[in-house]
């Protein structure tokens, strides 16, 4: 995993938020590395990665952003189950889209969803943790890319 690989995920984030509503722009701040504490928010969708890379890709956001996305999708009613479904689906989409660059051997799991700071996932101890900050409609989310192997 290197700085260049992160661009694949940034492209995926932009594509995802543009798909919700084209005229509502997403701001992606410069990614940073945070190897210790991970900035988990209220809801986190986690995709385990295996094959040519090992680790996880996580999308974490507060309920307000996820509720806003669901409103744009005309989803009703909006409740905790639907929010958990959405955060998992966003993590799935952003991980799966990365295969455009990394190929078919970048294997992704089905999503698991955690709420709150207590995210139960065995992150690779020797991997770099890239954090991509996302701002959409004044709400912040993060995409965490925690992988051990080089994806090329």
């Amino acid at each position: 995993m290197n700085d260049k690989d992160i661009q694949v995920f940034i492209t995926g984030v932009r594509r995802y938020f543009d798909s919700i509503k084209k005229d509502v722009s997403v701001v992606i701040e410069p990614p940073f590395i945070k190897d210790n504490d991970k900035p988990f928010l209220e809801y986190t969708g986690i995709i385990g990665i295996s094959g040519k890379a090992h680790g996880a890709v996580c999308f974490t956001a507060n309920g307000v952003m996820l509720e806003n996305i669901l409103r744009f999708l005309n989803e009703t009613p909006i409740n905790r189950d639907v929010i958990c479904d959405l955060v998992g689906e966003i993590a799935n989409t952003l991980s799966g889209n990365a295969r455009e660059e990394f190929g078919r051997d970048f294997l992704i799991s089905v999503p698991t969803v955690s709420t709150g700071q207590d995210v139960r996932f065995q992150f690779p101890p020797d991997g770099r943790n890239y954090v991509i900050p996302i701002i959409w409609q004044a709400e912040k989310a993060f995409l965490l890319v925690c992988l051990t192997q080089d994806t090329r």
């Binding site: 594509r15 995802y16 798909s19 919700i20 669901l70 999708l73 005309n74 989803e75 189950d81 639907v82 479904d85 959405l86 998992g88 689906e89 799935n92 989409t93 952003l94 991980s95 799966g96 889209n97 990365a98 295969r99 455009e100 990394f102 190929g103 078919r104 970048f106 992704i108 799991s109 089905v110």
Partner: protein
């Protein structure tokens, strides 16, 4: 026309149903797993199936194989986050009629559905 929507995300299933709402579709079934999809398809032989790939239990490509075994003429549109050409080519070789990548673009979905129905 009978439509079967297969995806483990209920949000995605409902979005697809809303995007494809039209007078042509008289009946819509939804399945969250490949196993449920095969069961529903074998009972009703839907005119069109939209099918996710990454799902718990039976994955979408295995589900596609089962559906094609039941009906070699099945019209199956894959809608997946897996944005690599190898997976798309594999799905088409196994009998899918089309392949769309998530996030879903409603216009592309409607166009792909129209092409499937006209085929």
């Amino acid at each position: 026309m009978k439509l079967l929507i297969v995806d483990d995300s209920s949000v995605v299933r409902r979005a697809i149903e809303r995007d494809l709402e039209s007078g042509e579709i008289t009946e819509v079934d939804q399945a969250a797993t490949g196993e449920d999809a095969v069961r529903l398809y074998s009972a009703k032989l839907h005119d069109v199936v939209t099918l996710d790939i990454t799902m718990p239990g039976m994955d979408g490509l295995t589900c596609l194989d089962r559906i094609v075994e039941i009906n070699p003429e099945a019209r199956v549109l894959i809608i997946s986050a897996l944005r690599d050409k190898a997976t798309a080519i594999d799905a088409i070789k196994r009998g899918a009629s089309g392949f769309l990548c998530k996030p879903i673009n409603p216009s592309e979905l409607k166009e792909a559905f129209k092409l499937l129905v006209e085929d």
